[in-house]
Symmetry: C3
Subunit: 414 residues, 3 copies
């Protein structure tokens, strides 16, 4: 009898310990995904001109702040409605009011608040992807308005289709940590913004394409290393537990895909430009990371190397192609997040080890198409509406002088 | 019989696993709090003039080094005397000599060495707060002397009053992770330093207040993101275990207060200055973080949003007010750490969920007043004594040319 | 009977929880060691001239990428052959093909993939040490060739001698986290490179030694803080479990040695140069960290303070001595990693608490000598062969104009 009590105690203590460690890994991952916002901020700051640095920093500071708050009030309830399984849309109501202020266990491996804060960090990254692509010419206020609607409505609706047990999930669409759900969604938003805004003055001239180089390569490199650093939490945390086998496999596939992305981009850009191109190699790493994100938990390590290598090789071609189409993206966000996001989602079907019916090519293409169509349409309409009302682009004079003086009356360096 | 042995084994293994995970979270938090020193270093470096950058970096490098060593020899024994409960002062002796070199369990959730190193990181942060406020005019050697006495004597004595089970703890004063015990203590030290030192040359002229802008906004922004990053360990680790419910709640309250701080400062500074002021918004985030620190574990999420928002709104008013009083603080440390530290400590009484007798307004005000009076007096006397003996301020000529050449014969950039 | 099942369940759950937490700490350590690559990148970028910044960033980006991939294909199998105990050489074959794709438990405290990725991060750091020392004059392509052979062959062979249960391990040689196996190995490679390459133009002139100062002290300081940050994983993770007592002791010895290193270097460099020398103090921290690495788990805290202090004091003497020998090391890598690596390995014999026969002075000196002789010879031959074939040094003209324009056609700042 006494033994029975001790036995229950032992079982409780053991399962509690597992709950603690699983939850802890998600919290640590949250911290890692948080610092990706600094990664994006420094990457984008490094790749823009010296006169627009304060502006891009300001945007990134506001994105995480607005992102977390709007996701708290609206986004989380849209993405995880908890009803309407297999559906297109659901809403659990404004704000979060978990029973007992979240102090009751909500999930098997983590708490209610852990779930929210981990997901909230993801939501905000999505918007930072857009900020780089539309840099150096968008008005600050209107961009923040875009940010509010994008993070609180567009991102969570398409996210729900898969992660909220919606119709794409029912279809067998697979996207482990968000090659499509986070990265290509950001990429589609970026593309819509680029089209509505138009290119920077002087970029596409009659004499050809004029390169506008970034003002600080150290800042850009810091950004890429911090993004890789954070990706251990982005992909590793998406296991949603501290399961040693799965998390360690994800660490290896993620890191080797990033490495292979650097190599791929290095080789192709050297062949194309006959020089060791730092910004291409940096974007190659990011391309590899985006590419492996959809299937980091379900491919072999050698497949991960191939996926990363292909992603890296795509980067220089894609950046040149966007430029040829006169789609002006100062940081290469569309190539990294949209092109490699699509590639990674297709790679699921080519390399993934799944049960019958999951991650089929048809499911993957459906997911890519449906989420892309929704997001691009949403963002195009939203950007156009902003353009038609309050205006979206700074004046030519302000663009010339730089947004730092125009919008902030402050120089980045003095 | 055999079963009995297995049962004990299971119980031991389970409780060991919990001990491991609780201790691990404190160690990870230690790493996060450590990196706040880089956050302060880059924030302060970004906000000072180009000619004083090496000096501020040097100070921050020495602060963490001196801080850890003096805390090891004196501070820890003053802060946790282990005797004299409810008292004003106690001392466990010089240096640390735990039994069995710390290899015996000391606490329920972590080891002796974990406790020391986590607390040591906190102690050193306190002094970095001062370094920013007195930047650009204080002599290096005398500042390091201040640092030794501040970290090893002043900070641990007032810290003991609450965290070492002293008289404020007995009174019901509540300060979860140190809005008062760490941040306002740093702020009072900063204020004393500012008064004794006087303003930078040319700041307050007959024609009015001349703004002296920081030399690198990217460095300042890096600092704020790193501080937020580290705050997950500062507040999250202050739970003193990996308790999933409490740590995850702390993550949410801390992050949303930081976000609301940015929004609050953004709105008020836009209303005041009609521009998007990056440095105000950055300080708004820090204000929100300082504000929530006293009660991150004991308020609802919506209360956290209000606390952060108010803290953010206070920042621009406070910065303007200090300038009007001709109290020259190059980085805004007094506004962030002193003003928002006081606000956060009062917010405990307004928003906290406690048992009767804890966190009452009277207890909170007593804590703020007593710790403030002690710290300000201690620092004022210490700074004044240094001034009267070895001198505290660099020569006018050195201030003009910059401390980098004067004290270090090295330019930050070449 | 039912109880028997429950009992086994409890035992399994408890041991699983411990496995989870031990493995998690190694994964978190992996992330921390990863970011040391950013630490090295920014440290080296800060310490080189403005015209060679893109080049050093490019090298650091490629080192981690090449390092992980070659370690995956060759290095790991050389370092942990799993056969040939007590031997000089062994090879487990190209590439990694763990049974069941690594999904079977391989070790008591962590998985197969965790082991690989943690070790892989270590391997790559070794090569970054070299990159700083040969900066500002080595050709990029040839350096990457060196990198491939160094990480995949040289580093793992000597590493196996101790960590792969080779002959030095059998001899009682002790090197906890790699003062010799990682740091001095990097240092010997650096020394070989410096000798083969020769000094930078204009460094050693008839009028004496011309100091060539780094272009950005903030970048260098960021690097040192990030390295310290990562060292919590480098040393802490080398416990190879989350054992609370040992990991927390390692945190304390590591941090206090770093602090004492700063103090030691501060005092000696002030005595030598009569100024507060930031770069010396930064290198003092690194020296303290390298020094404690061999015995962070097996000395008392006061011994750690002495070890760090001595390491810090060695730094200014060593830097001056290398310069007198006309061995031109732009970042001081040989002083930090070679000199302090040797010191730390000797300190094991002086301060370590071991059983009879482990860490004896004779074993330590044998290890230092054997690993040094092998590594230096390997690297000297490799660098010389590269020099004799494809050439190793950029043209005088390119050195003058800077490698950023020469190799990358891109300026670091614009």
């Amino acid at each position: 009898m006494n033994e029975e009590i001790l036995l229950k105690e032992a079982l409780t203590a053991a399962s509690e310990a597992k709950f603690f460690v699983n939850n802890l890994w998600l919290l640590v991952s949250t911290v890692l995904v948080f610092i990706m916002h600094l990664g994006f901020a420094t990457l984008e700051a490094g790749f823009v001109q010296r006169k627009n640095v304060v502006n891009i920093l300001f945007k990134n500071v506001m994105i995480i702040s607005i992102g977390l708050i709007t996701y708290y009030y609206v986004g989380f309830s849209l993405m995880y409605p908890g009803v309407n399984e297999g559906g297109f849309f659901g809403f659990a109501g404004f704000g979060l009011n978990p029973p007992d202020n979240g102090m009751t266990d909500a999930y098997a491996n983590y708490t209610y608040w852990t779930d929210f804060i981990f997901q909230g960090m993801f939501a905000a990254t999505c918007c930072t992807i857009v900020s780089g692509a539309v840099a150096e010419r968008i008005k600050l206020g209107p961009f923040l308005v875009f940010c509010i609607f994008f993070v609180s409505i567009s991102y969570p609706i398409t996210g729900m289709w898969k992660w909220g047990a919606g119709w794409l999930d029912a279809l067998g669409f697979y996207d482990f940590a968000g090659s499509t759900i986070v990265h290509s969604v950001g990429g589609w938003g970026a593309l819509a913004g680029i089209i509505v805004l138009g290119a920077r003055k002087g970029k596409y001239t009659e004499e050809g394409i004029k390169p506008i180089v970034g003002h600080s390569m150290p800042l850009a490199a810091v950004g890429v290393f911090l993004l890789w650093f954070g990706w251990f939490g982005f992909n590793g945390g998406s296991v949603l537990s501290a399961d040693p086998k799965l998390v360690s496999l994800v660490f290896v596939t993620t890191s080797l895909a990033a490495s292979a992305g650097a190599i791929g981009s290095y080789i192709v850009s050297y062949a194309m430009f006959k020089t060791y191109d730092l910004s291409m190699t940096l974007n190659g790493i990011l391309g590899g990371l985006v590419g492996i994100t959809a299937c980091a938990d379900s491919v072999s390590v050698s497949s991960a190397l191939i996926i990363g290598l292909v992603a890296g090789c795509l980067i220089p071609f894609s950046i040149v192609a966007f430029d040829k189409m006169k789609l002006d993206d100062p940081v290469g966000a569309t190539s990294v997040h949209l092109v490699c996001g699509i590639w990674g989602t297709i790679a699921v079907a080519l390399f993934g080890n799944f049960e019958e019916g999951t991650g089929t090519l048809i499911a993957q293409l459906t997911g890519i198409g449906a989420i892309g169509a929704f997001t691009f349409t949403f963002c195009f309409i939203l950007f156009s509406a902003i353009k038609a009302t309050v205006g979206i682009r700074v004046t030519n004079d302000e663009e010339e002088r730089g947004l730092d003086l125009g919008e902030h009356q402050l120089a980045a360096y003095s």
